[in-house]
């Protein structure tokens, strides 16, 4: 991730130029005619298959696929939410704290890229749904949602009151997306090719624009000056962590609705059957794994996975929830 200064118009201009030059096209850079290989996993899992120790090979495949879809839906939903909150998160902030035409352009391009990413992952989910004989709308009932949730309502209210919780979440999620590709890359040969290609392209652009949320946070935190702003500066990171943890737990909880899809494809049948395994797991162990070692999940809720992020939070003087030290479970080949 390239770090630039908020007030260095030449560096901002160079960064934007690079983003435009190397950006990919939704229509031309991805071969959407490639059929989805349902025999391949979407993500690599740990020995315990997330929360399903002892899962069979077929069950591991199903868990990998639903986890891959949950990740795709999370990217799609979060980036759509970003675009929906653009006025409050970007337009209103720059109206209050103008910087330069270059910074405005960089931000506008950030939102263009996020819209593209969201659309790319939506297309993938649609293809996957069709390949498994269901509609996207049916599939979405078991996948994470942000629109019309309390999470989005809260983030909007926080932004309207001059808060930063939204940008804290964006900054951490962007870091998570970078980690995600690094986790997938060693298993490239086994992973479903279109899914991997999509993540590779997503990673490239995220890596180029991952500094933008930090610039927004820096802008808000260094230019805002009222007592209310001070409270946001101190408390909004913590609030964002609570919102993000609750959202992630809720998003995983939506997979309970898989029972409705059972029978429509062997993947969903296997997953519906596995709900019982999950329910039999000791709750404390599941809870601890959720925060410390569950691949793709613990790194989303526990910011201690992201050193740069935590260093920035410390530098800004924001208070973080004392999450436990992470102990990522090693991923294994399918």
């Amino acid at each position: 991730m390239r770090t630039v200064s908020l007030y260095d118009e030449a560096a901002l201009s160079d960064l934007l130029k690079m983003q435009r030059e190397y950006g990919w096209s939704l229509e031309e850079s991805i071969d959407w005619s490639t059929p989805i290989d349902l025999a391949k996993p979407l993500v690599a899992l740990d020995e315990g298959a997330l929360f399903f120790p002892g899962a069979s090979r077929e069950e591991r495949l199903a868990v990998s696929q639903i986890m891959g879809l949950i990740i795709a839906a999370s990217i799609c939903e979060m980036e759509e939410c970003l675009v929906r909150l653009r006025k409050e998160a970007f337009g209103d902030v720059l109206r209050r704290f103008p910087v330069s035409p270059e910074f405005t352009e960089l931000g506008e391009h950030f939102f263009v890229e996020e819209t593209k990413h969201s659309e790319a992952f939506r297309r993938y989910m649609t293809k996957f749904a069709h390949a498994t004989g269901v509609d996207l709308e049916d599939l979405k009932t078991v996948l994470p949602q942000v629109e019309r949730t309390k999470t989005e309502w809260y983030l909007r209210k926080n932004l309207e009151s001059g808060g930063y919780a939204f940008w804290w979440i964006v900054a951490e999620v962007e870091q998570e997306f970078l980690l995600l590709y690094n986790a997938l890359a060693p298993f490239k040969k086994n992973i479903e090719p279109l899914y991997f290609d999509l993540h590779r392209k997503h990673f490239e652009e995220e890596a180029r624009h991952a500094s933008f949320p930090y610039l927004m946070l820096e802008l808000l935190m260094t230019r805002a000056s009222s007592p209310r702003d001070y409270l946001h500066l101190k408390g909004d990171l913590m609030i964002s962590q609570i919102v993000q943890t609750l959202w992630t737990a809720q998003a995983l909880g939506r997979t309970r609705a898989l029972k409705k899809l059972a029978g429509k494809h062997p993947i969903y049948t296997a997953l519906a059957r596995m709900q019982e395994i999950l329910e039999k797991q000791p709750k404390v162990r599941t809870f601890w794994k959720f925060f410390t070692s569950a691949p793709y999940v613990s790194s989303l809720v526990n910011p201690n996975h992201h050193r740069k992020f935590m260093r920035f939070a410390k530098k800004m003087g924001s208070i973080s929830i004392p999450f436990p030290a992470p102990s990522p479970a090693p991923l294994v080949d399918y």
Binding site: S5, E9, R95, R96, P98, S100, P101, S225, S226
Partner: protein, 274 residues
């Protein structure tokens, strides 16, 4: 070189470098406690770019004689002086004018901009507010903390007495704490009446709804200004219809300490907008 003329009964001086006969006039208005010499890097740079550059001395500074009548320090009187300087260079009034203001010079720049009408090609503000903008900020605690000295200047006689004794010490402190230049002449006393007259004009300025300036306006503001908060677009939107804002690193005297960068930004703005 220094030009001088008696304008409306008072000796008035300004720095001037001529370019081609039809060249655009670039008028630089300095702030407190500066003198036009602060603009030297800009005068050299823009003269080399083909502009005729002018930088008047505020009344009571250099060759501009002080006035007994306090109204000569009012916004209208100073704007008339500036118009007269422009007339002495361009008697027919058909050359385009760009006004650049810093600090309280920005208040005069906004005033003059509204009087120049279609002659005004652009307006540039460097850490410089409009009077109405400043008046509306009086409800902001941070701006109030930064502007305590303006309230002090409103008292009769006391500031003069205070500055007569302590001015060198105050200036030395400001040079250390706020980045005030040490290599150009500075003096606060000649500006006291400008601040008093500006304050007197506030009720009227707040009542009248000035039509926003329609020419391209560039606002360059350093983020670590010890005297002025960085403006919002809402503030600037009331004053002009086409504003470009650039916030950069630096202190209140950004055109002095970051002269090359400011010159390049302003020149780029002229090339893009004019």
């Amino acid at each position: 070189m220094v030009e001088a003329k008696v304008i409306r009964g008072r000796a008035t001086a300004w720095l001037q470098e001529n370019s081609a006969d039809e060249s655009t006039l670039l008028l630089f208005l300095h702030g407190c406690p500066d003198s036009p010499e602060i603009w030297q890097p800009q005068l050299d740079y823009f003269h080399a770019q083909g502009y005729t550059v002018l930088a008047p001395y505020a009344r009571g500074i250099g060759g501009s004689a002080p006035a007994q009548d306090r109204q000569r320090y009012g916004l209208d009187a100073i704007a008339l002086d500036h118009l007269e300087i422009l007339r002495s260079v361009d008697p027919d009034g058909h050359r385009k004018v760009i006004v650049v203001g810093h600090d309280i010079g920005g208040i005069h720049a906004w005033k003059l901009a509204r009087l120049l009408g279609s002659r005004l090609a652009a307006l540039v503000l460097l850490n410089a507010p409009d009077l109405s903008q400043m008046a509306r900020r009086l409800s902001q605690p941070r701006q109030l903390l930064k502007s305590w000295y303006i309230a002090l200047f409103q008292l009769p006689l006391l500031p003069e007495a205070w500055l007569a004794r302590w001015e060198p010490l105050l200036i030395a402190r400001a040079q250390k704490k706020t980045g005030m230049p040490t290599d150009t002449p500075v003096s606060i006393t000649p500006f006291l009446n400008q601040y008093r007259e500006a304050a007197r004009a506030i009720p009227e300025v707040l009542k009248q709804n000035d039509t926003p300036v329609t020419c391209p306006v560039l606002v360059v503001w350093s983020k670590d200004d010890a005297f002025l908060e960085v403006p919002s677009m809402a503030e600037l939107g009331r004053l002009a219809t086409a504003v470009t804002v650039r916030v950069i690193e630096g202190n209140h005297w950004v055109h002095h300490h970051e002269a090359a960068r400011v010159n390049a930004l302003v020149n780029r703005f002229f090339k893009e907008k004019l």
